[in-house]
């Protein structure tokens, strides 16, 4: 009951206030075209979810080369090419353990994976460091995958 009364009083208060302070006021705010929604739309850029990846043999050597270059700059700090876990798991055998699309999504869309994918979440529990978004495009990620396949002995 008290709350109700207070609410009524406050309502009365705000109504009178409004009346007293903005009689004849031009609502200039309505004229300004600033769109705060647009201004706040600051989503990070991620790749779209990848559902299917076509693998071919023999390996595309140009992609393998590019994949290795990306690995050296952006991946190698945390992932070794053998089974050793440094910050993230070693890459040996990864193409046998994971679906190609899973690998691609993990590279290009790691936030989505950590939010939704049970396997990715398990890895986070083990490693305790969120895999960083290393700003890798989908074609680049495909090259990294090709390099992983080579690392796993695919010819």
């Amino acid at each position: 009951m008290r709350k109700q009364i207070l609410a009524i009083a406050l309502l009365a208060l705000s109504v009178t206030w409004y009346g007293c302070s903005s009689d004849g006021a031009k609502q200039r705010s309505e004229e300004t075209p600033t769109d705060p929604v647009e201004a706040t739309n600051q989503q990070e850029v991620h790749g779209d979810m990848i559902t299917e990846v076509k693998l071919t043999t023999p390996l595309d050597q140009a992609m393998v080369k590019q994949g290795q270059e990306i690995y050296d700059v952006k991946c190698g700090s945390c992932h070794k090419l053998d089974e050793t876990r440094i910050v993230g798991p070693g890459w040996k055998g990864i193409t046998q353990r994971r679906e190609p699309a899973w690998i691609m999504n993990m590279i290009t869309n790691v936030d989505m994976m950590l939010a939704n994918d049970a396997e990715a979440q398990k890895l986070l529990e083990q490693c305790l460091v969120r895999m960083p978004n290393q700003n890798i495009t989908e074609p680049e990620a495909r090259s990294v995958l090709e390099f992983m396949r080579q690392n796993d002995g695919v010819k």
Binding site: S21, T32, E38, Q42, G76, S77, V87
Partner: protein, 663 residues
């Protein structure tokens, strides 16, 4: 039970309501919906960026409006412990001047770049008031990209102000001085030897790169503030002056003798014509030009040796004086470009000049003699009218885009809204306390956004919880969308804000830099990937190419550093994710610490002064294993035989021994 509560509430409402309508005790004069108007819910963004000068801290700060939240401090003319600006080897050249490194200056005014007289959201310019310089800050990276020193200048106060398309940034000297290359003269020869230089700095429209196009050598007066013409008056510039008495001592008295000082009107388009005709004179001058390269993440400083000057006495028709009562401070041009508002800080009226009348007076030669060879236009011939009894100590005027002006009054501590056409005072609100500058979003442009005015007060006193003798500065936000200005919010600011500009967030937010691409890192000592991490000795200099990623350094064990060595930690942050900087610190760091943005390389120089094993670690919490992001550097005596070895995830000394054993 019911009715007493209701009655009490009603009485309370009535009482508050009266106060709300007629703010006698202005300290509580906040309208009922103020909280709602400034509340930006968690996770939501502000509508405007407010780019605010830091005054004596030499920095710019960025606030969100309407919340008044501090979002960022951008170091410009002062070293900054937060991110190593002025301490890292890369940023040190930015603070170089012809006097050597100046670690701290005084930044007073902001000018946001415009295209066609409207904000374009590209750059913010700021002035160094003490050792005259102009800086350009990127509104994508919020980093100072360029600093240009100004010769023949002292007290760079009338600066920086920009033309409609950012063709020029101008900088007028507050102190008249003898020319730099003939400066050893008696101070008492002010009238013969001292000149007031105005620098016209051109700005490349694509890169923003600055250079001094020319300096105008005007009579020895003090330039205070300025504004470019716009619309019909585009091509002209207007400067307020004081000390037209040309006093060189006790200016408090001696520079306040005359009833009127001047507004200087400069036809810069005509000055450009004279330059084309070769009327400019190359004069020796020494000044630094500093540039920060976003690709090499490194600044360079170049000392320039020459400047072009233009003497108005040899170039008739480019400058005119307009008398203006008394010691004018602000000199502001309305959005149409027709009205020039002079605010005589010791005057009882606000004079408003008409650009059309000024043009006619010049054409008809309606002059009142000359001042040091420069024609003085008759006051009445250029005057549109005066705002009568506006308040005490008018300082600055901004425009709401609805035909009104709002002027700040320092002495009577208030904002006063008046109509530009009929010069009638419409409204006044108190400020707490003693307002200096004021800012309306887009206020100095052709199309103000209006909505708010922000007062930057000089005195804080009791507005916040006391924090000893030194207090935060007080800014105040007012709603100007109605007929009456309404106080919404007090918010504390850092440094001492002078001028500030506010700009819609939509013009800036979308362009904000998130990371630096590691592939594009052109730093000389970058390690792009751990494969490139290494330690290289060059005489007594040891270059450590070290990488950081969540959460380790490579290398994190280094041996073979000796006393007498100078160690350079070139830290490359391999992260490519937004908001993952790493920090770097070394025990006994005689220089500083640094902060490295994703994809960037920054260098910390360290000169060890004792033998021992010295820890290094990351100072920016980066992950759950941040605390583990640490390592060691072994420092041995000079002349020791310890080999230079390094690594991460292995024992470098043991491995070196293994190699020796194999051999």
């Amino acid at each position: 039970m019911k009715s007493p509560i209701l009655a009490m509430a009603a009485v309370a409402a009535l009482g508050l309501n009266l106060v709300g309508c007629k703010p006698k005790d202005a300290g509580s004069a906040v309208s009922g919906d103020a909280a709602e108007k400034v509340y930006v819910a968690p996770g939501k963004h502000d509508e405007f960026y407010n780019i605010v000068s830091g005054g004596f801290n030499g920095q710019m700060s960025v606030y969100g409006i309407p919340s008044g939240r501090l979002l960022k401090i951008v170091p410009v003319f002062s070293v900054f412990p937060e991110n190593g600006w002025g301490y890292s080897e890369e940023s040190k050249p930015m603070l170089n001047t012809s006097h050597g490194e100046v670690p701290w200056d005084d930044l007073h005014h902001i000018a946001l770049s415009t295209t066609n007289g409207e904000h374009d959201g590209r750059w913010a310019f700021g002035n160094a008031n003490n050792t005259p310089r102009v800086a350009r800050v990127s509104l994508s990276s919020f980093r100072t990209e360029e600093i240009l020193e100004l010769p023949n200048s002292a007290g760079n106060h009338s600066s920086p102000f920009i033309t409609e398309n950012t063709e020029y940034v101008i900088a007028g000297t507050r102190f008249s001085v003898p020319t730099d290359n003939n400066a050893d003269v008696p101070i008492s020869t002010f009238k013969q030897n001292f000149k007031g230089y105005i620098s016209f700095i051109n700005v490349d429209k694509n890169t923003g790169r600055m250079g001094i196009a020319f300096q105008l050598k005007t009579p020895g007066v003090s330039f205070d503030l300025a504004r470019a013409g716009k619309g019909k008056s585009h091509g002209w510039f207007f400067f307020s002056t004081y000390n037209t008495e040309q006093a060189n001592t006790l200016l408090e008295v001696n520079a306040s003798q005359k009833d009127k000082d001047f507004i200087l009107a400069v036809n810069w388009k005509k000055a450009e014509e004279y330059l084309k005709q070769g009327k400019g004179r190359k004069e020796p001058a020494k000044y630094a030009h500093n540039l920060y390269d976003e690709k090499t993440h490194t600044a360079t400083s170049t000392i320039m040796n020459e400047v072009i000057t233009l003497d108005p006495k040899e170039c008739p028709g480019i400058v005119y004086f307009i008398p203006c009562p008394k010691s004018p401070h602000g000199c502001d041009v309305d959005p149409t470009g027709e009205y020039i508002v002079g605010s005589g800080k010791l005057a009882a009226v606000i004079p408003v000049f008409s650009f059309d009348k000024l043009q006619k007076a010049i054409a008809d030669k309606t002059f009142d003699g000359d001042f040091d060879g420069i024609p003085v236009v008759k006051y009445e011939a250029a005057l549109y009218g005066e705002v009568q009894k506006p308040g005490l100590g008018p300082l600055h005027t901004e425009f709401d885009g609805q035909g009104n002006a709002i002027t700040s009054f320092f002495v009577s501590s208030e904002l006063v809204k008046w109509n530009i056409k009929d010069l009638k005072v419409l409204d006044r609100v108190p400020t707490y306390y003693s307002v200096g500058h004021l800012s309306i979003p887009g206020g100095p442009t052709k199309k103000p956004h209006g909505k708010y005015v922000i007062a930057y007060n000089k005195i804080t006193k009791d507005r916040y919880l006391p924090t000893g003798p030194e207090l935060a500065q007080s800014a105040q936000l007012y709603d100007i969308s109605g007929d009456k200005m309404k106080l919404l919010l007090d918010f504390p600011t850092v440094g001492e804000p002078h001028y500030a500009e506010a700009i819609p967030a939509a013009l800036i937010a979308k362009n904000s830099t998130k990371i630096y691409k590691i592939e594009e890192n052109g730093h000389k000592y970058a390690a792009k990937g751990e494969k490139e991490a290494k330690v290289v000795r060059e005489g007594n200099k040891v270059h450590v190419y070290i990488t950081s990623i969540r959460s380790h350094f490579t290398p994190d064990n280094i041996e073979g550093v000796k006393l007498g060595d100078e160690v350079y930690f070139h830290v490359t942050n391999l992260e490519q994710d937004w908001d993952v900087p790493h920090g770097f610190a070394v025990k006994g760091g005689d220089n500083a610490e640094i902060l490295i943005m994703p994809g960037e390389t920054q260098t910390l120089r360290w000169k060890p002064n004792r033998v021992g094993v010295v820890p290094i670690y990351c100072t920016d919490f980066c992950s759950a294993l941040h605390q583990e992001m640490q390592g060691y550097v072994r420092v041995s005596p000079a002349g020791s035989n310890v080999q230079l070895t390094w690594g991460t995830g292995k024992n470098p000394v043991a491995e070196a021994e293994k190699k020796v054993a194999k051999k």
